[in-house]
Each structure stands twice: as C-alpha cells, then as structure tokens.
C-alpha cells in the first residue's frame, strides 16, 4: 500500500562484463605477453639492476637485474593456476559432500558438518601453513592446503540449498513420478546451486590468490627465486624510493586481478 522502494542496484550485466574484461586482460598479459616479447624471468644481469624499461624488458628491471615484465607474467600464471586447481578440487568435494549430507541426513550429515565446522574454526592461512609444512613441494602444498580451506564454503552452500530443494513439492512430485536421484540432481538441485557455485568459485579464486601472495609476502610461501606476486612485492619493497614503478607493477597486477574476480562474483543475482 506504500510506494515501492527502489533499491539502487548496479546493472549486473555491466559489472559482470567489467569483471570479465579485467580478468581477461590480466590473463592475456600473462599468456600472450612473453610470446610477443620473449625473455627469461630468471636471467640476471646485475648491470641492469633497477634499470629503466627497454625493448627486452618493457617494465624495467628489479634489484637483481631480472626483467619485471617476464617475472610478472610468470607470477600471473603460477598463482591463478594453483588457485583454479584448488577451487576446482574444493568445489567438486564440497558439491559431492554437501549433496550427500543433505540427501542422507542423520549421521553422515552430522559428521560432515562437525568436520566442516572444526576446520572453519582454524584460521585459513594457518591451515595452509600446516599443510605446506607437511606436503613436499610448495605448489602442491598450496593446492592441498587451499583446497582444504575452500571446500567448506562450497559444502555449506550446497548443503543448505540442496536441503531446501529436496524438501520442496517439486522434488516430491518428481519422485512420485518415478524419477531417480540423478534426474532430481540434474533438474532440481543443479540449476538452483549452479549460480551460487560460480559466485563462490570466483570469490574462492580471489581468496586463494590473495593467500598465496600474503604468505609469499611474509616469506613463508613460495621461495626465491620463484616469481610470485607476494614475493615480488616484498623483494622490491626496500627499493621503493629508487624504483617505485618496479614495486607498483606486481601491486597493480594483483589488484586488477582480484578486482576483476570480485566484480565477476558480486554481480550475480543469487
């Protein structure tokens, strides 16, 4: 009976497009950049230390005379690959376990929920650090640790949405009509959770990239001489006065990538 209140909402489509463009730009730089300007991210030339940009190093040189352009491209391949692998693993595990918990209920549900809650109580970065200490190989450790942290989100989302969907008259009708669990999952559950899963995946990827960079920044993640975003930032930090652009390039790249992923995630109507 009152005037409808119109909540201002950014146009989802435009925001999504902006996010996708940013992510695509960063990935294009990482994948195509080194093909256009060939170079080695590890080749040192101390004569060029903190040098300005030239034809072989379009973004200048770092304190050890390595091309920042090629190190950045390498770093922008490494973090997203680990992050996407971790998100895929975590998403699959969360989807399967969440559906199982919702469909079975009872003990299965209780044990899985307790496990998820227990892991949720631990700080995520700490969990990644513990796994990094156990698993040999830093990239593998990051993948395992991040997967262990990220599956909880997918599990909780899937479980909550699936429980509601399974209790709906639509599912009851499908079951009465003789359809099995596969059909119910395909027609009822998946269309409900797919948009949520994609949002969670975009956020999860951003979280994972941030975690890798954060641990690199405090010297407990990737080891030198690996080119990694956090590690590059901390290595160049002492030279901020002499070479501000050198420090800014990994910062800007990380910011653009995370912004793109967040816009991609936040614009979805769920």
């Amino acid at each position: 009976m009152s005037d409808a209140v119109v909540v201002p909402r950014p146009a989802g489509r435009a925001v999504r497009l902006a996010g996708a463009t940013l992510v695509a730009a960063v990935l294009a730089f990482a994948l195509i950049g080194p093909l256009i300007v060939p170079g080695d991210p590890f080749a040192q030339s101390l004569m060029q230390a903190l040098g300005a940009a030239d034809a072989t190093a379009p973004l200048g040189y770092d304190h050890l005379g390595r091309s920042i352009f090629h190190r950045l491209a390498h770093a922008l391949r490494l973090s997203p690959v680990i992050a996407v692998a971790a998100v895929l693993t975590a998403g699959a595990a969360g989807l399967v376990l969440g559906t199982l918990a919702a469909a079975r209920g009872g003990w299965v549900d209780r044990i899985l929920t307790i496990l998820a809650d227990a892991l949720l109580a631990l700080p995520g970065l700490l969990l990644v650090l513990i796994v990094l200490a156990i698993v040999p190989g830093t990239a593998l450790g990051f993948w395992a640790g991040l997967s262990l942290v990220l599956w909880i989100e997918f599990f909780r989302l899937t479980r909550a949405a699936t429980r509601d969907t399974l209790a709906s008259p639509a599912v009851e009708a499908s079951r009465l009509l003789g359809f099995g669990p596969v059909y119910v999952f395909r027609t009822h559950i998946w269309p409900e959770i797919a948009p949520m899963m994609l949002t969670a995946a975009a956020f999860g990827t951003a979280t994972a990239i941030m975690a890798i960079a954060a641990l690199g920044f405090v010297h407990v993640g990737m080891r030198a001489p690996t080119a990694e975003l956090g590690l590059m930032m901390v290595e160049l930090l002492p030279y901020w006065r002499e070479a501000p652009l050198a420090l800014l390039s990994p910062v800007v790249a990380t910011f653009v990538l995370l912004l793109g992923l967040t816009l991609l995630a936040g614009s979805r109507e769920t």
């Binding site: 009851e172 009509l177 003789g178 269309p191």
Partner: protein, 480 residues
Amino acid sequence: MTLLRAENITVSEGDTPILHPVSLHLDPGEPLVVLGETGSGKSLLAQAIMGTLPKDLSPKGRVVLGDRLLDAARPAGFRPLWGREIAVLPQEPWLSLDPLMRAGAQVSEAHRLVRGLGAAEARAQAQEDLARLGLSGAEDRYPHQLSGGMAQRVAIAAARAGGARIVIADEPTKGLDAARRDEVADLLLAELAHGGGLLVITHDLALARRIGGRIIILREGKVVEAGVTRSVMAAPAKEYSRELIAADPETWAVRRKPPAFAAVLTATGLAAERGGNQLFSDISFDLSEGRILGVTGPSGCGKSTLGDVVLGLVRPAAGRVERAPGLPPTAFQKLYQDPVAAFPRHRTLGRTLADVARHHGQTQCQIDALMPRLGLAPVLLSRKPGAVSGGELQRLALLRLLLVRPKFIFADEPTSRLDPITQKQVIGLLTETAEGEGCAIMLVSHDAALVGATVDHVLSLAAPQKHTELNAPIVAGALQ
C-alpha cells in the same frame, strides 16, 4: 448522503488502458462488493480510489469524498485522508501486524498518532475497541499468540482507530476456511451498522453473497454487470456473470455416484502425529476405482498428512495402507495446492512433460493429444512454470499425472488458489479422470459446497485436541 463517489476511474500502464472507466458510489450502511477474477482490475480500482497505485500506473478520474473533490491523477492529495476518512483492511492481517508489538499497543498507536489522542486516553480507547470486538484480555498478547481470527479483529480495530467512516477490504478472506470467512463477513457488516461505508474487493462468491448490498462484476478491466447483489446473484443478466455465478460450488449439480469397481487401496487403523501431538487416529477406509473420497476438517487437523501417509511419503504412527496387488510404484500420485511449486522452476513445461513421457514409455503424441482435451494451448509448453497462470498450470499438472496412468490421485486443495470458473473446470477434469481412467481420488478441500457436490464419500477430520477424546473408529466408504 453519499459517503464516496468515484467517477470515471481509469488506470493505464503507459498507453495501454488496464482499467476502463468505472464509476461507483458508497452510501452509508450499504456495502458495495467488487467481484472479479485475478487480473480483472478489481484491486487496481481500489488502489486508484485510495491513491496507492504503483508509480508506473497512471490513474485518471474524480473522487468525491464528503465535501472534498479529489483528482485520481494526483495521488498525493489522498494521503491526508488515509486512516481518517478511508481505512484499508489489509489482506493477510497476521502479516500486517507488527510481530514485536503487543495487540493493545498496535491499536493505541493509531489512536495516538492518527487521531492525536494522549497516551493514556489512547490506551483506554484501544482497550475499549478490543473489548467491543470480543478481545478483552488480549491487549498484552503478541501477534503470534493470537489466532488468525483474533489477529484479523486486531487489524480491524487498528485500521478503524483513526475514525475513518469508509472501510476498504481487499480480499479479506484470502486463505480462510468457510467458518472463518463468515466470521470476517459478519465482522465487516457489524462495522457497517454504525453508518459507515464498506467496499469489499473479492473473488469469493460466497463472501459476496454474505456481504450483500450492491455489486459490481469486473472482467479484464471492464464492468460486466452492476446492481443489487441479491438480484444479480439470483438472475445474472450477462453471460460472463452467469458463468461466474454458475461456477459457485453451491450451485453445482451433485455428481452421480458411480458403481463400485475393484478396490485400489485399503487403509486400516491409520494414525499420525506431528511434534508429539496426535493428529488423528484409527482411520480406516477403502477406495475403489472411479470413486472420489472427500477429506474435510479445520486447518491443521492433518488432512495433508493423511494424504501423504496414503501416498507412502510419511510413515504412519499406527496402521497400514495396502495397495491393490500388481500396481506399479508410480500408480499413486499427488496434485498440489500450489502448482507453481510442483514443477522444476528452471525447466520449460514442455521439457518437464517430455521427461515424464519418456520415463514412462509414452511419446510426445500422447502429450499433444492430451493438451486439447484439457483445454490447453500448445504455446504453454515453451514457457517456464512461473509464466503460466495458476489454472493452466494446475491442468498441466493433471496432464503430467495422466501420462503416468495413475490409479490413485491425492488432490490437496487443488483449486483453493484458483478463480471460480477455473476451479469448476479443474474439478470437472478431475471427476472426468476418475470416471474415464478408473482412478480413485482423495480430494482435500475446505469448501463444504464443493465437497458436497463432487465426492462420493466424506471423511471429516476433527481438530486434533478434540480428536484425542474420540475413540470410535472413523470409517468412510463402503467396506464390501
């Protein structure tokens, strides 16, 4: 003296008119009923008179209220009249009451803020209002502690507190059973006795008949017929009104009881409980092919649970349901109250139906053959459930069941959300299914007239607390 006169009220959306010129007047002591199905524009008419239309709709016309002349195109002018001259009775009162506020405070607030009484005076007045409506002692209760009928009376008291002489009730009986519906009608009429005006907007023929006064029948934004309610109801002049009034279950011809065939199911000594409270116990009946069993009772008595027990969706606390031997597991089906909720909402209806047909070894031709039989246009198949009207969707739900060749259908209030004409159509199709397919049907409805005209046996469930004292077995149907 006329309380309110509305002249040539029209509403349009952009350039498309959705309500054609309607004029009406309200006299003291004589109620006016606006009757129409969903989408007939009856609520738009009320909103245009109150100045509460959504912004994208533009009203035109004149409203004369006492000695004031208002322009419907300028809704801001109506605002000072809300509560003081025109009171609006909300559709579902328990949703419009503040859940965190005691009943007395909700009424005294209106006295204080709308009428400008002092705090103590407002409290005393609120107490008096509630006592007059038979709610003494309920002042300190929160809405969740009130029954639906009590909440409705609190909402009426709050709406009237501003001293408005004109009450507009928009679908006041939505979702109520017959007893509660009459209670609300009597309450509205009692308010009228003080010389006020009453405008009731409804699709419910029984309510219209009970309110009486004068009536305006709307269809697709146009006035079909207007006149004195009693004479219009007795002898409608226009074809649509005739059809609408004939669709009232009270005027339906009683169905002839078909001969009994083989039993489809036998239920013995069924009992069920919810949250530790017994809903019903010791219910036995059998149902044979082509027979329709009506289940009635007040809301919350376990009608739907009984159906779910028979379908095997809920385990009974005692007793058992035996299906006739040789029936496939999908022979028992359910027709839902809200058909939109019963279809996968992301899939087109055509795909859903094709899935069912394929799963049961039927072809697309089967669907195409059934569509015209149920009066459905093929274009509906390309839509999703949300984009189809309730009546069409309920027929599509019936079509989906027919693809399975069911032997038993549990129809849970299948028409409570439909307009009278659509309701008659759906119930007609259901009885045809019973006869044509040899299907047993268990029909839940709160409409006594509908049940009386349609079913072969009636099973009445009592309210749970009374039922626990009742030990005699309830047997319905002929146990041969």
